[in-house]
């Protein structure tokens, strides 16, 4: 969802920030108007005109100085009180809760794991509506930042410095998230989505993610599986049921169930998957995924196989 997302909260945590934001905008807007009106009045009223009297040589007023020192102090104290209340509301303590979700930033995609169930995916987080989940945020390389504006605060993903943040959504929907800390060439396309759905849908999704995908035995999909094994795909990607390395590239076990490809650069469709496998740079120029110079026929077979990974 788009729009003025920072003022369109969908979680209690985001709402605490949004309400604070509105209050502060009103206060700051008031001060801005005061200064602007004073300046505009002064330059209109005291503009040099022929015959205007010489300016009065005034050096200052202690009383006024005290006034415009004390007034801002009081106003800032008020803002400070608002702030202290909002800090706890927008970022509640984690106490001794074990994380429900583990999000690891990579150049340039998000690794998503559900430690309690063992489900693993990438760039697409599913959460049950109305439940607060605790997210552990980590990085595999440089500093990233996990940010879903409608659902709350952003928090850095720093190597060697694990962070925690709550995530929840009051109503079903697909919420846009993004890496908010500059992390290198493709920082732009390090997006993610958060799908908030009913408890039943969430459980079904999680079960599907945990299932080992069936191996196709004939047709184009089976040829695709052979090509995948012959090539070096599994050096970087994991598919459950096949020996693979999941620390470099996204887990592909259920890639066909996902909505976005290349961390949000394009929608996930067979056509876009074809373009991606044919030449990743045509979609995401500096992606770490190499161009394997595969023939159209081989790429078609790979796409056919990967479309079975629901």
């Amino acid at each position: 969802m788009t729009g003025i997302v920072t003022l369109n909260p969908v979680s209690p945590e985001a709402a605490a920030i949004s309400h604070l934001f509105v209050a502060i905008l009103i206060i700051l807007g008031g001060i801005f108007l005061l200064v602007t009106v004073l300046v505009l009045y002064a330059i209109a009223r005291y503009r040099d005109r022929p015959g205007a009297p010489e300016a009065k040589q005034v050096f200052g007023s202690r009383r006024l100085e005290i006034a415009w020192t004390v007034a801002p102090v009081l106003l800032l104290t008020l803002i400070g009180v608002f702030m202290i209340r909002a800090i706890e509301a927008s970022d509640p303590p984690i106490e001794d809760r074990k994380p429900d979700l583990r999000v690891v930033g990579h150049q340039w995609w998000w690794e998503i794991a559900y430690p309690k169930s063992g489900a693993v995916t990438a760039n697409e987080i599913h959460i049950p509506v109305g439940k607060s989940l605790l997210v552990e945020v980590d990085s595999a390389d440089v500093i990233h930042d996990f940010w879903v504006p409608e659902l709350g605060r952003k928090i850095d993903a720093i190597p060697g410095h694990v962070n925690y943040v709550w995530i929840s959504a009051d109503r079903p929907g697909v919420y846009q998230g993004v890496c908010a800390e500059f992390c290198g060439a493709e920082h732009t396309w390090m997006r993610m989505i958060v799908v908030a759905e009913g408890e039943g849908d969430f459980d079904a999704w999680q079960r599907a993610q945990l299932a080992t995908p069936a191996m196709p035995s004939d047709g184009e999909a089976a040829r695709g599986l052979t090509i995948l094994k012959d090539q070096t795909c599994l050096n970087c990607h994991a598919i459950s049921g096949l020996a693979g390395n999941q620390t470099v590239g996204p887990d592909l076990s259920h890639i066909a169930s996902r909505r976005i490809l290349a961390a949000g650069a394009v929608a996930n469709s067979p056509e876009n998957l074809f373009r991606w496998l044919k030449n990743p740079a045509s979609i995401k120029p500096e992606s770490h995924m190499p161009n394997f110079q595969l023939s159209d026929e081989k790429v078609r077979a790979l796409v056919a196989y990967m479309e079975t990974l629901k």
Binding site: I4, V35, E54, F59, H161, A180
Partner: protein, 553 residues
């Protein structure tokens, strides 16, 4: 000070040199000041060009006029250039030129060191730009966060050039700051006590001390990062036991005072221009001076408001949130004093004054949006978005650059002997004002809509293209404004109206000598018995001290 002692301290006038050599070999503060300004202007052109390419790339979604890596080099260089090679040297240029004249001195305290400062910082700038032809410019941002700036993630030599270039600028600026501080403390004309010091000199002195304490932090951190890059020291690489967060503490430990290093000279300029064109002394002199000292001290206790998203704990965030809000108080005092100076004045709307008055309002916007980053939970939403890009440009362009233009229009007649054209100046002002606000006002909204900083493109969502396009149109309006400014300088240098000694009826000592001043600055320095020596000279019956005494102040 006796005349004999003074004569001893004056270096013998150098033998006349001709042409380029008379500049390159110069240790005269006026020539060095002008060279600072010229080098700043050249880098302003380069940094501006980088900004225009950035804005052209972002005009429409999915644009690909530059590659992602080139885009990253461009914004890294834009930020580094504008901060270290434009605002700092231009402020140094104005200060180097004006300060000795304003306090009635023959030159700065250490003229040769002054030349070294300029040349070493220029060399740093050239080294930085040499990276473009030496394998690629720095691409890790002006902040070079580790581990992205480490060799494992930044493959070209750009960041190494960035380190060496900045070290040059840092050393040059540090030497310059020492020079200015000593100049104010030791070379004031007899009678000019600290309480009678023009506010420009006051604020320059405070700023010099701020630089003396802040710059070594970055210089030391640069050496550590260089050790990481060249010697595999792993100080900032967590995979080998280093700390990525440590670099941020070092960087912002310097980086936030740096913001004030860029804005205090702007306050200094505004505190001269507004009183002169209002025909009144500055309102609340003591409060403007004291609030500067307060800002300088407090600026060392706010650095971690750049790090609220790092996850350092609520108590930590709260401390820096409150300290950051507190620094808004002395800043607000200044804004109210400048505004009060306008009251009951006789305001002459010269181009310089137009820039100065709009500075008050533009800087207020930047200051207020800054408060929204002090409020920790808002920072958690807004940091690293275009809201922050808007904020920092309202401070550094609407603030520092507007003040620089006010200062250039104000002192150009002193430097060149000719007035800048006011009619072209009016065009320059309005194109700058409109272009600036077109470019940056909409960026607040883009940030609130979730557009992160430092992205080379963005999804085609409702309003995103419209707002980005407005911003790009604003950027090209600014290009027009800069061309008008250059044109004004060109024709005014040749055919501008002669300035005379004191074209603005100003009160500080630099206007008591010829325009441009002779090599030795003054044939005779007028007596200084108050803050406005030339006012006292023109109105002996209503001298400031007498008026103040009569009113019981």
């Amino acid at each position: 000070m006796s005349d004999i002692a003074a004569a001893d301290r004056i270096a013998p006038v150098e033998a006349e040199r001709e042409g380029l050599l008379s500049w390159v070999a110069s240790v005269d503060h006026k020539q060095i000041g002008i060279m600072y300004l010229l080098s700043g202007l050249v880098f302003f052109g380069l940094g501006g060009l980088e900004a225009l390419i950035i804005r052209t790339q972002l005009a429409i979604p999915g644009n690909s006029i530059v590659t992602p890596d080139t885009f990253n080099q461009l914004f890294s260089m834009h930020g580094t250039t504008m901060i270290f090679l434009v605002i700092m040297p231009v402020m140094a240029g104005i200060t180097t030129y004006v300060l000795p004249l304003m306090i009635g001195a023959r030159d700065v305290a250490f003229p040769r060191l002054n030349a070294l400062s300029f040349w070493i910082q220029l060399f740093g700038g050239i080294l930085l730009y040499f990276s473009f032809v030496a394998g690629g410019a720095p691409n890790a941002g002006w902040f070079s966060y580790a581990p992205l700036s480490e060799p494992a993630y930044s493959f070209n030599n750009g960041v190494t050039y960035w380190i060496l270039g900045l070290a040059g600028v840092g050393i040059g600026s540090l030497a310059g700051a020492i020079n200015m501080a000593v100049t104010v403390l030791k070379l004031r004309v007899p009678g000019m006590t600290i309480r009678r010091l023009p506010l420009f000199a006051w604020i320059t002195m405070v700023n010099s001390f701020l630089m003396i304490f802040a710059l070594p932090v970055i210089n030391a951190a640069l050496v550590l990062l260089l050790a990481d890059r060249l010697l595999n020291a792993h100080i900032f690489t967590p995979a080998f036991g280093g700390s990525a967060v440590l670099w941020q503490h070092y960087f912002w430990g310097f980086g936030h005072p740096e913001v004030y290093i860029m804005i205090l000279p702007a306050f200094a300029i505004i505190s001269e221009v507004i009183p002169v064109f209002s025909g009144k002394p500055i309102y609340g002199y003591e409060f403007v001076a004291a609030s500067t000292v307060a800002i300088a001290f407090m600026s060392f206790a706010v650095w971690a408001h750049h790090m609220f998203a790092v996850g350092l704990g609520h108590l930590f965030d709260l401390f820096f949130g409150i300290s950051t809000m507190a620094i808004a108080v002395p800043t607000g005092i200044k804004i109210f004093n400048w505004t009060a100076t306008l009251y009951q004045g006789r305001i002459r709307f010269t181009t310089s004054m137009k820039f100065a008055v709009s500075f008050i309002v533009m800087f207020t916007i930047g200051g207020l949006s800054g408060v929204s980053f002090a409020v920790v939970p808002l920072d958690w939403q807004l940091t690293d978005t275009y809201y922050l890009v808007a904020h920092l440009h309202y401070v550094l362009f609407g603030g520092s650059i507007f003040a620089i233009f006010a200062g250039i229009y104000y002192w150009f007649p002193k430097m060149s002997g000719r007035m800048l054209d006011e009619r072209i100046g009016n065009w320059h002002f309005w194109t700058t004002f409109i272009g600036f606000n077109l470019t940056f006002l909409v960026q607040h909204l883009l940030g609130m809509m979730g557009m992160p900083r430092r992205v080379f493109t963005y999804p085609d969502w409702p309003w995103w293209m419209t707002l980005n396009m407005i911003s790009t149109i604003g950027a090209f309006t600014l290009l027009a404004s800069v061309i008008i400014f250059l044109w004004n300088i060109r024709i005014s240098l040749g055919a501008g109206a002669p300035a005379g000694d004191n074209p603005w009826d100003a009160w500080t000592l630099e206007w008591a000598t010829t325009s441009p001043p002779p090599a030795e600055n003054f044939a005779l320095v007028p007596p200084v018995r108050g803050r406005r020596p030339l006012w006292d000279l023109a109105h002996p019956d209503r001298a400031d001290e007498l008026v103040a005494a009569a009113s019981g102040e």
